[in-house]
Amino acid sequence: MFYRECGNFKDSYASDMAIFPIPLDRWGFTVMLFLAFVVIPLFASEYLITNIIIPFYCFALSAFGLNILAGYAGQISIGHAAFMAVGAYSSFILYGRYGIPLIPSILGAGVVTAAVGTFFGLPSLRIKGFYLAIATLASQFIIEWVIVHVEWISGGVFGTIQAPEMYIFGWPINTAVRKYFLALCMMVVFMTFGKNLVRGQMGRNWMAIRDIDYAAEIIGVNLYRDKLIAFAVSTFYAGIAGALLCFCYVGAANIEEFNVMTSFALMGMIIIGGLGTVLGSFFGAGFFVTLPILINHSLAAFMDVVPSDILSNIEAIIFGGLIVLFLIVEPYGMARLWHTIKDKLRLWPFPY
């Protein structure tokens, strides 16, 4: 019953390399899956599902994508929302205009985004640090401009495509719960894939690049290949997340949804959640999705109608304050807090 490693004998390589070596973790994970797959769709209200949980899943996926790039491979990208936009638009075009089935067109959107992302990752071969960060900011503005100005993509001046009706094998995805399952299944599949990717050879190469890139090159990491793969995988995730966000939550592909503020928010998510952790992506996304709603509700307790400018100002203040506070108090993010709790649990009831 205790959170212990002892008594937990590993008698095969597979069990030695398990994602969750401690039984209680496995139980906890199973409970989370049970909650996500059974309890939430059965009992949560439609408002909760559409407005909080679906965007939470999508942003968690996207934040994880950015975490691969920034947290594992150490390449800062502050134009990541643009890649979500690429995913959203290409999935809508593939599905709505060319009639490719839904799942393949979402995956295809990921592939298209990965191609675009790899292209914008090319500067990383020559520059690094803040110079690279600004170069990735270029992708944000260039992609926004292309989407708005190329009519073939945006289909008009406002850069908005309405979501087509969704079917999987003739089965309509029209209710909140069905959309929820679509987002959830995608998220679980890709999170599992990603977790294993960063545990494997590729993840280690990335971490070596992040820590000291030239040293990594000397010990035989193919710097250029691995950096580009990091960009490709990361933007693939962004593309999938963008497509899911637009299919399941927004209901339209709209460039305003993916402006530079969203890019900054994504960066904030992984910093507050924890750089280079899978769990941190969830924490960060949850924090960013729920915070505005929480502030809104707590303000509504004091006044009848919350004026939108006051709301956005207070949101900005609390937001900024929390970012600063987190960086000072817990510089390694919320995931680190969880780590500390686990360490304490291992020793409990002894102090050390």
Partner: protein, 295 residues
């Protein structure tokens, strides 16, 4: 041909305004290795504060209002250095970068809570006439701020080269530890840097505020200044000035002569494209210090 020169000259003047914002970035990066995302928000806050002192809450004369604004920015500088940066000494640069993000949100939120969100016109009584010089139309307004920028740059160069504090800042930017060893107080140096950056932000905020009106979008001017910064090299003041001129001229010429063929609005990303091009050939910008790494 006259038209070409007119576009060019106007572009150069816009460029000077970009350099003004970029200068703030370069100053702080030089002295503390912090990439200060809050520079745009500082400009916004400064212009809001000036508006508050001039018209909204008090009706001070212009010189007093400017002085008060600088005082407010000094308070911010102290707050940032002692509350935010001091606990974060020796953290990786990315953390400091994110911390300035937080400061950005804080400044925008606080500024707009105090002074309101609607756009305000800032009128400093600078004449807005248009003069014709050799067939080129130049607005006296742009001319005025070009002069102000020039004075500011000369002042900064003098400050960094000749004064005791300026030399201390250069020492700190070269090597934090060595500077500490010879007895330069790090926090004091940082505070001075942030105050200077605050002053630069005030000038930039006033310049842009009178031009575009004091509004939230001033904060995004920083995004325009970022490509200027990397073209010039993050740690070079001369670089920022020259890059500002290049970007301003390139952007205006591009918009007028290339824009119509591709549907216009290329100003939003043209500087970034230029920056990518420059970085391809000079990875540390035109005048940036090249970092040589050894294992």
């Amino acid at each position: 041909m006259t038209f070409f020169f007119e576009v060019l000259v106007n572009g150069l003047m816009t460029g000077i305004m970009y350099s003004l914002v970029g200068l703030g970035f370069a100053l702080i990066f030089k002295a503390s290795d912090v990439f200060n995302m809050a520079q745009g928000a500082m400009s916004l806050f400064a212009s809001l504060a000036l508006y508050g002192f001039l018209e909204q809450y008090m009706h001070l004369p212009l010189w007093l209002a400017l002085l008060c604004t600088v005082a407010v920015m000094t308070i911010w500088a102290y707050a940032i250095v002692f509350v935010v940066l001091k606990p974060l000494v020796n953290r990786p640069p990315l953390m400091l970068f994110m911390a300035t993000f937080g400061v950005t949100y804080l400044m925008e939120g606080i500024g707009q809570s105090i002074y309101g969100t609607q756009a305000k016109g800032l009128n400093l009584g600078i004449p807005d006439n248009t003069y014709e010089v050799a067939g080129i139309f130049i607005s006296s307004f742009d001319l005025f701020f070009t002069a102000v920028a020039a004075v500011l740059v000369v002042g900064l160069v003098w400050f960094f080269q000749k004064t005791r504090n300026g030399r201390a800042l250069r020492a700190v930017s070269d090597d934090h530890e060595a500077a500490l060893c010879v007895g330069i107080p790090l926090l004091k140096a940082w505070t001075i840097t942030w105050i200077v950056a605050g002053v630069v932000a005030t000038v930039a905020g006033v310049a842009w505020g009178t031009r575009l009106g004091v509004q939230y979008s001033l904060s995004f001017i920083a995004l325009k200044a970022l490509p200027v910064l990397i073209i010039g090299g993050i740690d070079s003041i001369t670089g920022v000035i020259i890059a500002g001129l290049i970007v301003g001229a390139g952007e205006n010429l591009g918009e007028v002569f290339i824009g119509p063929y591709v549907g216009g609005g290329i100003q939003t990303f043209f500087p970034y494209l230029l920056a990518l091009l420059v970085l391809y050939f000079k990875p540390y910008g035109l005048f940036g210090k090249e970092i040589i790494e050894r294992v």
